[in-house]
């Protein structure tokens, strides 16, 4: 159905009111997380857009603390799975165990049965374990034995990868990486932020406790509203132009990028970019998407969906360089 000007005005007001919890969440999380606003914001985008987040950063950047605090603030269940080379799919999803007194097999659910999952160092486990997790992410359900279990909503997987240790790891294949809505690269905090972190950790009273400010059901409702955020056809065309420029750069006067790109974004990239843009607009308490929303989340949505050629790697060209070129060449509506 065609949205009218009046509908959008009402939607805008509705979203303005409904998205007030975002500020509350940010305020609550800032009690324990210093800096890393970018990461927290991306986590919320993934949560609201029903996507999952792949996080790349060196150890000690508050990845676990962030997602744990977020789950506490939402009053949701949290699980952390440390991926290791000897991990089995059953260790993630669960298995059937024999109950001797009752003489029957019972289901023992794995740690994946939670709202927030931290899959730490996902690239340290073999492909079959990665597949088990990624299938659960995609299908939002788990089959153990003959029984299929629906995963609880909201369900968010935050997987981490360490960019500096590559020996003995199982790099996620492109098809699997594509299942993550966002790939967020995080860096070190600033000097001032790190000073606060030291003080906070050495505080005799310990770290502040996170109180629940909303319930998981509120997130599920917010997700419905995110779906309603208005996206004009001009924005849709802008998203398509960006994704198509990664596939056929020569059609956007970017012939020089042609030999550097081995493959461009998939249709899932377009869907994720649209979803994430709507989610970002919601977080900015708007009922409609503007080009800034697309540009703000473009790098996180696209960086793991554009393949580089050997030539690009030899010239130290990164996907960020390519995406910058594309964003500077594609006309904003």
């Amino acid at each position: 159905m065609e949205n009218t000007s009046q509908d959008i005005r009402q939607l805008n007001e509705k979203i303005h009111q409904a998205s007030a919890f975002v500020d509350l969440l940010n305020l609550e999380l800032s009690k324990v997380i210093v800096g890393q606003r970018y990461m927290v914001e991306r986590l919320l985008i993934g949560l609201l857009a029903q996507g999952h987040v792949l996080l790349e950063g060196v150890p000690g950047l508050a990845k676990t603390l962030s997602i744990k605090s977020l789950s506490s603030a939402i009053n949701a269940k949290f699980s952390r799975i440390q991926f290791t080379p000897d991990l089995l799919p059953a260790d993630v999803v669960g298995t059937m165990i024999y109950n001797q007194p009752r003489n029957e097999f019972m289901v023992r659910k794995g740690p994946i049965f939670a709202n927030f999952i931290l899959a730490d160092e996902i690239n340290r486990a073999p492909a079959k374990v990665q597949s088990a997790l990624l299938e659960a992410m995609q299908e939002k359900q788990i089959t153990i034995g003959d029984t299929t279990f629906k995963l609880e909503e909201p369900f968010l997987v935050l997987a981490t990868q360490n960019p500096i240790e590559q020996e003995g790891t199982y790099t996620l294949p492109e098809a699997q990486v594509d299942r993550f809505m966002l790939k967020v690269v995080i860096g070190y905090p600033t000097k001032e932020e790190e000073r606060h972190i030291i003080r906070q950790n050495l505080n005799p009273g310990g770290m502040a406790a996170i109180n629940p400010v909303i319930q998981p059901a509120d997130i599920v409702e917010a997700r419905k509203l995110v779906r309603e955020v208005y996206m004009d056809e001009k924005i849709e065309r802008y998203i398509l132009d960006i994704v198509f420029a990664t596939r056929h750069p020569e059609e956007y006067k970017l012939q020089k990028l042609k030999p550097l790109i081995s493959y461009g974004g998939s249709p899932r990239a377009s869907i994720s970019l649209a979803w994430a843009a709507k989610s970002y607009a919601f977080m900015k308490r708007r009922g409609y998407v503007i080009p800034e929303d697309v540009r703000s989340i473009c790098f996180d949505v696209m960086r793991h969906r554009v393949g580089l050629t050997y030539e690009a790697e030899a010239e130290n060209v990164t996907t960020e360089n390519i995406l910058s070129e594309i964003l500077n060449a594609v006309e904003v509506p």
């Binding site: 004009d232 800034e292 540009r295």
Partner: protein, 334 residues
């Protein structure tokens, strides 16, 4: 046994011999083969020419359906190496029906001693497949080593001999050089004589960005786009005209920037930055109209146009004078 019986038997054998071996008799009658060497002694490694000849009567050969085949020597045989083989040569003798077939082989040997070139087989092959042959006489040739006087001392290795310089060794290069010089002179002469092209008319001066932008804004206003209900198109065109103006006038890639980025990037351009609030209000309203289906009031439509014109007018002093595409070149010529 009676005498008459013996005589009859002899006749019978002679007759049988004649009947059974006619071909041989024909062959002997029809060609004569020979092998001859140009010397009977060589030094080791030297070459000897071996000439193989066969004298035949082609008329008779044709009549009997025969074909002559010369001996086929392997590359190496009996201490001899075949260095070269000439093609088969045919010489017709004047005044006779005979033909001389000739082939020359160049042989050498690297073993000292007396080595024999064996009798070589020339064959006559009939159309029926029967073969007759004739052999040349074998030839003995002495292959001698070099006599070394071991009583004398070793001699030093000879120095490199210089070849006398001659201008004729370079004749090809000189001809090519002369041809290049002549070609260059010819081209120079041709282009000098060719009438010069009439100079291209100077390109029409480009319309200054300031003038064009104002003209486009007036045209948009005159088209009464928002009055026709096309609000989104009105604001899209209005902002596109302004963004294009910023791009041409101030070198800001405004068409590829969002509202927030554009407002950030005009900061270094003082004259434009002074109109920042006006620009922000205009672009924000345009964004709402374009992306949120906002329907501004008629006063807001007119105000947006007014703001756009004011921004362009304000930045007029920064506008460059009209330039032709090759203005630099004309300045240099002057």
């Amino acid at each position: 046994m009676q005498k008459s019986t013996i005589v009859k038997s002899i006749y019978l054998f002679v007759l049988l011999g004649y009947v059974l071996c006619p071909f041989r008799l024909f062959a002997q009658d029809r060609f004569d083969v020979r092998a001859s060497a140009d010397t009977d002694r060589i030094r080791i490694g030297e070459q000897v020419k071996l000439e193989l000849t066969a004298r035949v009567d082609p008329g008779k050969l044709k009549e009997a359906g025969l074909q002559m085949v010369f001996p086929s020597l392997p590359d190496s045989f009996n201490h001899w190496e075949v260095v070269d083989r000439s093609a088969l040569d045919t010489v017709t003798s004047a005044g006779t029906q005979e033909q001389l077939l000739r082939q020359t082989l160049t042989l050498t040997s690297f073993d000292s001693g007396r080595w024999e070139i064996p009798a070589l087989k020339f064959e006559m092959i009939a159309a029926s497949g029967s073969v007759d042959s004739a052999f040349s006489a074998p030839i003995g040739i002495d292959v001698n080593t070099v006599a070394v006087d071991t009583t004398k001392a070793f001699k030093p290795i000879k120095t490199i001999r210089t070849v006398a310089w001659s201008i004729w060794d370079y004749w090809l290069y000189m001809v090519i050089g002369a041809a290049v010089v002549l070609l260059a002179l010819g081209l120079w002469w041709y282009f000098r004589r060719r009438p010069a092209k009439a100079p291209a008319p100077p390109p029409a001066p480009l319309e200054p960005a300031y003038d064009r932008t104002l003209r486009q804004l007036k045209a948009l206003e005159a088209e009464k786009v928002w009055q026709a209900g096309n609000v989104k198109e009105y604001y899209s065109r209005l902002t596109d005209i302004l963004r294009t103006y910023f791009e041409e006038q101030f070198g800001i890639a405004a068409l590829e920037q969002t509202t927030a980025e554009l407002l950030q990037n005009i900061k270094p351009v003082t004259i434009l930055n002074q109109q920042r609030d006006k620009l922000r209000a205009l672009l924000s309203l345009a964004d709402l109209a374009k992306f949120a289906k906002l329907q501004p009031t008629p006063e807001e439509h007119a105000d947006s146009m007014q703001k756009a014109v004011e921004i362009v007018e304000w930045t007029k002093p920064a506008a460059r004078p009209a330039e032709t595409p090759d203005a630099e070149g004309l300045k240099q010529k002057a």
